[in-house]
Amino acid sequence: MKVLMTGNEAVAQGAYEAGIQFAAAYPGTPSTEILENIALRKEITAEWAPNEKVAVESALGASIAGARTLTAMKHVGLNVAADPFFTIGYTGVNGGMVLVNADDPGLHSSQNEQDNRYYARMAKVAMLEPSNSQESKDMVIRAMEISEKYNVLVMLRMTTRVCHSKSIVETGERIEVPIKPYVKNPPKYIMAPANAKAAHIVVEKKLKELEKFSNETELNYIEWNDKKVGVISAGVAYQYAKEVFGSSASYLKLGFTFPLPMEKIKKFAEEVETLYVIEELEPFMEEQIKAAGIKCIGKEKIPNTWELNPDIVKKSIFGTENEIIDYDRTIAVGRPPTLCAGCPHRAFFYQLSKKKNTFVTGDIGCYTLGGSPPLNTIDTTICMGASISMAHGAKKVFEKNNDDKRVVAVIGDSTFFHSGMTSLLDVVFNKGNTITCILDNRITAMTGHQDNPGTGYTLQGEDTDTVQIEPIVRALGIKNIKTINPMNQDEMKAAFNWAYDLNEPSVIISRYPCALKKYSKDDLAEFGPIQGYCEVDKDTCIGCKICVSTGCPAIVFDKAAKKSSINRIQCVGCELCLQVCPTKAISKVGE
């Protein structure tokens, strides 16, 4: 059947058809929908793991136990999972194992644009790169065959435009692959130095075999056209090259990109007059091709920053630009993403922004927007879990420098489970004095509402134990803990005052559901339904703009009339503006 699918949906279909039995991941744009779609297939045991390292390790366990397995993550997720990833390069697998890695050229939703193809080379694992949805599906199936034949982990390297673009896929039936027997094999699976030493020799031998495969496989194929220009490309960049050169160039299209098929590349290079290597981000292929003594043109023309498109490729190579309509580009006012109307993070940040002499470390999630105007409350954001540990180090140095700044770490519920817990242990162990705020909005919001250990539901929406944050924090050794409702501004303010008055580490758990969340039965019991909306009484409003300073997108300020008003469609009735208004001009209606 022909179906229009995103690359992520196609990977899920591939996992189904390839007889994969176990899949685990942590959500992260642009990879999230892979597991969400796998979860629709009852044949596959699919799980959200608390973080990517756990996902990879559980998938490895499943592979060693004999099943075909898949794990998926965004590029920075592989940094978290790098530890097991490198050593799987040594152990190899039992049941076939594929690690789907989604890079984000263009930083659509990421903190950097690292090129993870280097990871495959560094960890010495095989790599496949699909350029559309059909290949995304097919390559999961091929990855299983390669993984089992060569006893290696296969990385399927995707990018945002492959993950999130839809194209036509021919779907097929599932092949039921029986779970292989597990045979105890300490030299293979116990990576103590003596065994690992021997394994490294085996890995190098395997790489030679894989290079031979790379030269022979039809995953790396040539399309002969005019031989004046030859193009070597892979992934979505191949589609851009096709768009630009059409049938005026010959192509060596690479689907298996580590180890590279250097013999095939040499032969192709000999046949063409000018050779271009067109790849997004870093010169991963180009450097290896040049090191093999093959002349080619690559990054001297094509940028290694941000994502490519056909227009950029054309401009880089031919210097020609598309004709465009000339107009003043400065007229359109910026439209940055904002915290939603009714977002509990706004209520939290509004009070935190009032605190003077404070250094705030942020983390990865919607609450990163607390660093944007008008709240402007965050000093630094780096990676998952970093808020708590960075706060600790910063506080130590402020103290050493006789600076009495208070240091506040801001982290979400899912991010705390992901990698905040060990950081908090550091604060306790090393006598830190930071205020850690866990913004528990009862869901993994940013990536599109995935469940996590704290929500009480699994990936498939089945009931499971709800992990409570407060007992974890207590068990980690924190003595001062308050769980509060940030929508109650008096409570929020009192919690900050309490924490600032302490001279030892504290944790504030700011607990209220995401405004976009579909409430679970537990949410309804705990928080009740929100109803109605807020309204401004024009006569009482003095135009002070304090409500505007919360940054709520439902509040509109009329400059001419010097009055605020509230958009009924957008307002969810959270009552933050009502609480901050000094003249009590805002009231709740429609309850």
Binding site: L4, T29, T32, Q239, N309, P310, N322, I324, V548, K559
Partner: protein, 191 residues
């Protein structure tokens, strides 16, 4: 490839550009075209500027286009037309929804919503202006504004041969089918 047509849909997170591109690409696939569609998820959805691209023809390679390549720019929000205007081919068509959503700096009273956008666009390109918000409200649900725009787009691209009602039936929840078909037809007749 040479016969490939490029549609760029732009708007504000939450306006339903993704549903429109889904209906559009499903119908185009059923009609036998090769289709590629690209959208961006993640942080931009939080009230930010969003765009979806749909490309169709006999064989489509790239899922995305660069500047100066869109045959039609469908803007769900007036100011967004300007943000994406450079993606339009000089002889391309702009379909503008006369519907304003203020962004954060405007809501906060720092700057005004720019005036004269529609006139500016009309002076530079073939523009069709539609008040999809009003049409949707007349139908009783402002949310179907997106499908009104889909109707106008289909008419503008001469894709009326495809059985769009059938596609809509399969893509929206049953209780919303009637209103969406009405919205679609109103949109077709509005341009």
């Amino acid at each position: 490839m040479k016969d490939t047509k490029n549609i760029l849909l732009v708007g504000v997170g939450g306006q339903g550009t993704i549903l429109v591109s889904k209906i559009l690409s499903t119908g185009l696939v059923a009609a036998g075209y090769d289709v590629k569609m690209s959208e961006i998820h993640g942080m931009a959805q939080r009230g930010g500027s969003v765009s979806t691209q749909v490309r169709y023809g006999s064989e489509v390679s790239s899922p995305i286009i660069g500047i100066g390549e869109a045959d039609i720019l469908v803007s769900f929000e007036t100011m967004e037309t300007l943000r994406w205007f450079e993606f339009l081919k000089p002889d391309g068509v702009v379909l503008i929804n006369d519907f304003e959503i203020s962004s954060a700096p405007i809501l906060m009273g720092k700057v005004d919503y720019p005036e004269g956008i529609i006139e500016l666009i009309e002076g530079k390109a073939k523009a069709k202006v539609i008040n999809a918000g009003e049409i949707a409200e007349e139908l009783g649900n402002q949310k179907v504004m997106n499908v009104v725009l889909l109707g106008a787009l289909i008419k503008s691209m001469n894709l009326t041969d495809i059985d769009w009602e059938d596609v809509i039936k399969n893509q929206v929840k049953e209780k919303f089918v009637d209103i969406n078909i009405k919205a679609f037809n109103k949109g077709m007749n509005a341009v």
